[in-house]
């Protein structure tokens, strides 16, 4: 009886409401937690812009953009993972299946190593431009390469048939090419350049500003609206390409735009924040176990679950780091993986 009731409407609604409430509560907790020794009343005062100048700055210029980044990036990465898994009919698919993250890392390395003086001089180098010294420029170069990679893959897949297996393999190949490029860049890097590049690739929400939040929000919002509107088409796609086509779904077009938007979301998040792994796998799978695969519910639930995980991970990362936050990308995996394994094993027992 328990299984029969597992995916009823009431349960789905309950899960979504609980997640939403948890995100709101945690967002505030996250604002109040930190290494500056502010009390809760200090935080409230600062929220109302009535604290000391330093406290106001900590809340408004550091913590709020960071919390917003966690909410947006978590939601974006999670929903993009969900869409990847459905459109590629592959449970292992993740936001970076098309090699977007690898491409972004290559772009950032290029910017930091070749354009910012992190280059072992062998005569000519581009360090004179000191272009990569600007963090926004590094993100821009990372994004350009991520986008280039996505368009290249989708273009290639457009030429031949758009079968999911081909897309996944092409993504693996493309990702490896960028990683190889990164290795070669790093081989020529100075110690400083190398450490800058490596640290860049650690996901870190501390890089977020209102400007980057706004750009991420725009991309995630466009993607999410599209994903929500396509809910029934994704549901049809769960029955396989052939069945979906006979239900009137233009499978190739749906797959193209879904992969494009999901990858764009990933590209923008990775470019601004670095690699935040596993959110796009843990969250959608946990949601699917909890409330089933109906995209009308799994889309909003995955968004919220992603925000929740990243907020949790970031709060944790800032609390244990003694003043300097641990890389949040590692924490999402450390926190998420055991939970994920527990969810999967629980599912096994049921069936």
């Amino acid at each position: 009886m328990r299984i029969r009731q597992a995916h009823t409407g009431r349960r789905k609604a309950a899960v979504i409401i609980i997640l939403a409430a948890a995100v709101v509560v945690l967002a505030f907790l996250c604002l109040f937690a930190g290494s500056s020794g502010m009390t809760i009343s200090d935080c409230f005062a600062a929220l109302a812009k009535k604290g000391t100048a330093a406290q106001n700055r900590i809340i408004w210029n550091i913590r709020i953009p960071r919390v917003i980044a966690a909410i947006i990036a978590g939601a974006g990465l999670s929903v993009s993972g969900l869409v990847m898994q459905t459109t590629l009919s592959n449970t292992m698919a993740s936001p970076s299946t098309l090699g977007v993250s690898n491409a972004a890392v290559f772009g950032a390395n290029l910017s930091l190593i070749a354009f910012a003086g992190g280059y072992l001089s062998v005569g000519h180098n581009a360090s004179d431009y000191s272009f990569g010294g600007n963090p926004f420029a590094t993100s821009a170069v990372a994004f350009v390469f991520a986008l280039l990679s996505v368009l290249l893959i989708l273009g290639l897949c457009r030429v031949r048939a758009f079968s999911p297996g081909v897309v996944v393999l092409a993504g693996i190949a493309m990702g490896s090419v960028w990683t190889a490029g990164t290795t070669i860049l790093q081989f020529y890097a100075t110690d400083v350049g190398l450490s800058a590049a490596v640290i860049w690739s650690f996901g870190d929400l501390g890089r977020a500003t209102y400007a980057t939040d706004l750009i991420m929000l725009a991309v995630v919002a466009v993607g999410t609206v599209f994903f929500a509107l396509m809910s029934w088409r994704y549901n049809a796609l769960l029955s396989g390409d052939a069945a979906a086509r006979t239900m009137g779904v233009n499978v190739d077009r749906l797959r193209f735009f879904s992969l494009l938007l999901a990858s764009m979301i990933t590209a923008v998040c990775v470019s601004f924040l670095g690699i935040i792994g596993f959110v796009g796998i843990i969250c959608p799978h946990t949601i699917k176990k909890l409330i089933g695969q109906d995209h009308r519910f799994s889309t909003p639930a995955s968004l919220l679950a992603g925000s929740l995980l990243l907020l949790l991970a970031d709060t944790f990362a800032r609390s244990v780091g003694h003043g300097s936050a641990l890389p949040v990308g590692a924490i999402t995996t450390l926190l998420g993986a055991p939970f994920f394994v527990a969810v999967i094993l629980a599912g096994r027992r049921e069936s």
Binding site: H7, N235, S239, A243, T246, M247, G248, Q293, D294
Partner: protein, 258 residues
């Protein structure tokens, strides 16, 4: 009325054509069975009619409308499909059936779509299971859900690919009875492949035997002969009359041969 004329198809330019001029016609309310050896092109024929693949030449019309020129959505309103390997996402039975109407409602289902889904569930006797998750049902129940989903499309033609593949003898009968009842009561054409010859003789109004990429024999069920079957399948069957019904029996596998 479905009319297929001189349909030709190959999976690629280099490969041997699978269909070399298939022609057949099926009236509304009629059940047509497509028979042929494994790999003879039954599923390929269906995929052309359904628009999953496009023929290299030939025509497919329904009541005079050229369905090759229809958009996917228009075609989905006319022809529905129950594939051989039925897959569903973890949705409720009700939502899985409602999903069949996506070509009609587009983005979000309206009350009339829900009503239609409820009616179909009632018709095929699935109302009790409406809130269950499809992926947790038995093979026979899932098959029924797939048929219900196809019917929710309100098609004029229903294409079934080996609808009895994984079913036991009772469920097999149930599904086929259901399909025929629907053909008669709604006046929709049913085109199906079946591997069991006796089932085909009992279920189909017309039988289309495919061999060498064409419909080699096209006959009413009473006109089927053992020679046709042996020609198409390369077998050694005989036909006997049993209480006025024709039954196909295969020659015994004797010790000398094995």
């Amino acid at each position: 009325m479905l009319e297929v004329r001189d349909l030709r198809f190959a999976y690629s330019r280099r490969s041997e054509p699978v269909l070399r001029g298939v022609s057949l016609s099926l009236a509304d309310g009629e059940v047509g069975i497509v028979l042929g050896r494994n790999g003879s092109g039954k599923t390929t024929l269906f995929s052309n009619i359904l628009g999953i693949n496009s023929p290299s030449s030939g025509s497919i019309t329904f009541d005079g409308t050229d369905i090759l020129k229809l958009s996917r959505r228009e075609r989905a309103k006319m022809i529905a499909y129950v594939p051989q390997d039925i897959r569903f996402g973890a949705l409720t039975v009700f939502d899985s059936v409602l999903m069949g109407r996506v070509a009609r409602f587009g983005l979000t289902a309206g009350e009339e779509d829900r009503e239609a889904a409820r009616r179909v569930l009632e018709d095929v006797g699935l109302t009790e299971l409406a809130e269950r998750t499809v992926t947790e049902l038995s093979g026979g129940e899932r098959q029924k859900v797939a048929i219900a989903r196809a019917l929710a499309q309100e098609p004029r033609l229903l294409v079934l690919d080996e609808p009895t593949g994984n079913l036991d003898i009772a469920n097999e009968r149930l599904i086929l009875e259901e399909a025929r009842k629907l053909a008669r009561s709604r006046g929709i054409g049913v085109l199906s492949s079946l591997h069991d010859l006796n089932r085909a003789l009992g279920f189909g109004d017309r039988l289309f035997f495919i061999k060498d990429g064409i419909v080699k024999y096209d006959c009413r069920r009473g006109d089927v002969t053992a020679d046709m079957i042996n020609d198409v399948f390369g077998g050694r069957v005989r036909m006997i009359d049993f209480e006025g019904e024709k039954i196909v029996i295969d020659e015994k596998i004797t010790e000398e041969e094995t």
